[in-house]
Symmetry: D3
Subunit: 158 residues, 6 copies
């Protein structure tokens, strides 16, 4: 088996990797993703920022809370005392997309990529939920890690 | 405000829609999404099905459980006594993708699209988690509703 | 022991009351409570409605989600497929109070008072959390059931 | 926007404050609140301490557990490895009140006021739940921070 | 593959069984288990019933709440609106055992064996937790289904 | 009251012990338990390892995730940032038993016995759930702590 596959033991069984020997360092992860929506749904989102049904405000709260729920969702993910979680949105009316960015920080023995990716995913799913009465054809994509700092494996930047 | 935006009241405030007057009918939703992985990660997945580190087996369990967690993740989503939740995978070695399909059923007063979409998302995030030591450049996309039956709004098919 | 104390068996042990023999009817509960804040905190809340730090928007989402979490918080409370959950706020600048009202509905075998009361409590605690950097002397009070309809015990109105 | 409003970024969006740069110190918070009950309900509570339906025993467990659930309830609250959580009750038969006090401690980068306030709130809601068959007119109030030590902002005492 | 293994599809993949076609009937399950403790721990338990450290009272609440958490713990278990959950204890001083019995009822499309078994397990684990400072050699055993009624498969009695 | 009963204060009330003064050390706990199953169920388990319905794979994931849920299940248990969680199985066809072993590690101020015991219990309950269509007479037993290292009380070995 691939030796880098740390989520399995030598017998191939799933395991939550032992990180107790690792150093506690400052770690940060930034993830991104988008949802593509139709014109009517986009209008509803943009009006929301003008305080008539704040789709992005609700989605932001959902994303921040989901980052904290990550170890209950991703089976082999370590529970961590997150030090920061934030979700930002960028709306591109021409392209018909809302891009979500989630930034998570921790002082800990392992990284927070999964927290950032989960925060992005749930924020986008929440947008879907709030607009699905208007548009059932929306699509979520582009969910990926943008940046990761701290820890032995060092900095990753897309 | 858009009248179809049922997740807001007339003042534009977020609200969990009242479904108590709706009929209890059989409902089903199918959602789909994919993760694009590199050659080394794909190899690890394919070997996993040969019982050396079963990435897809763990991701399947994560997706099924996440569907049940949906109302705790998506703020305005109704809690429902789900009657079925299943996650399937299709691996396309040439394209370098694993496609996840989540099917959820319920006898209830509202639909299960969000449960199916959440199941797909968490299944794919779990694949990411288990392979991220090999490949940090993976991308998740194509998350969308494929089919929806039951309820007043009728059948949706992509 | 008091025979009305249905949360205990005849030996005085805590028990989640058997409601399986009860009829499934439409039920609704409305609960209320307030938080008293200082002038600076009140200003921050009122500005928030003008979209610079939407304290009440976040608190509303927290209250709606908390109503769904009630059976995980209140030991002898029944899990129910809630059909509606909504939180409204009324700000009284002169009195220095924000009043929260939570309305919960269900078609079920038992009532949703605790869900409404929990929704109110967590919405108010969230306001506290978001303003505590400005004002540590805030006080939460007046948490009580305003109305309850449906079920054998009939309508209650304060 | 008010600069002390650390739960919002400069654009006014909700954010879980970054505490990763803060020092890990011993922190403690004590919160209080009461529930006012009728004579019959008070009798049931007092008899409970004589082991026939221990209302306060169940409420104590509920409050301790709720303190641990705080980051899942309060959107912008940090998850913390709590080092202590305790709930005490004081019954004033003449006034018809039960006062709950919740004490929470942690060695961490941020305080535990919200945990103490949430513990108090859920303990009191649990008393309500167990007595609501006797008395629907109970009221919860006086929920406030009594003391807070540790951290940069120093000691707060009401 | 064994056709009775309903938790797997024909390809052998784990699946939450489809129960949406099944009839909603009254169902009940009773499960049992014991913990064997040393003399000093037994003394502490027995004194507890005399209101000085109520081990069984806390364990009862834990078991009742755990029954409600079952679908979040057992991957392929259906979420159900439980209608009753109760935990009883029988202490046998001579044998050095405490036996826990958990009874769960529901009107639903599938049974509640897992809820009863989970309630028993967590009640016993809680006893262990509260006494482990006295006795680390305690053992939990005899966890099994005692009775099951309702549903197509009919009554099971041990 | 027994002075070693740290989960109660001097008045006999349940309390989550204060560990904030304790040293953060490396701690490990190993727990074990078994499930006794009939011949047909054993056959299904053994075939599962040959990839037709992987009972133990699902149970392993359930046990690992349950260890992380422990503080939400065991009322007086401290939340901890677990550094490792693993579940292993040993199948004894002749005896008709599957033995589960759960190993949990943490750098923390208190131990992880309860996490290891909870991981074992939920892994075994999951096996029960997946095989109960074949065999309702299965029994779970032998749940006990095998080893514990770290902390002031030192090493425990059965």
């Amino acid at each position: 088996m691939n030796e880098k596959l740390t989520h399995f033991d030598t017998a191939g069984n799933a395991v939550m990797v032992d990180v107790t020997g690792k150093q506690e360092t400052a770690r940060e992860a930034v993830a991104e993703g988008w949802i593509r929506v139709g014109a009517e749904a986009m209008k509803a989102i943009l009006e929301g920022t003008a305080q008539k049904g704040d789709v992005l405000g609700v989605a932001r709260v959902a994303g921040i809370m989901a980052a904290k729920q990550t170890p209950q969702l991703i089976p082999l993910c370590h529970p961590l005392p997150l030090g920061k979680s934030a979700v930002d949105f960028h709306t591109d009316e021409a392209a018909g997309t809302v891009t979500a960015t989630c930034t998570v920080k921790v002082s800990g023995q392992t990284g927070v990529e999964m927290e950032a990716l989960t925060g992005v995913s749930v924020a986008l799913l929440t947008i879907y939920d709030m607009l699905k009465a208007i548009d059932k054809g929306m699509e979520i994509g582009g969910i990926r890690l943008m940046k990761k700092t701290g820890g032995k494996s060092g900095t990753f930047c897309r």
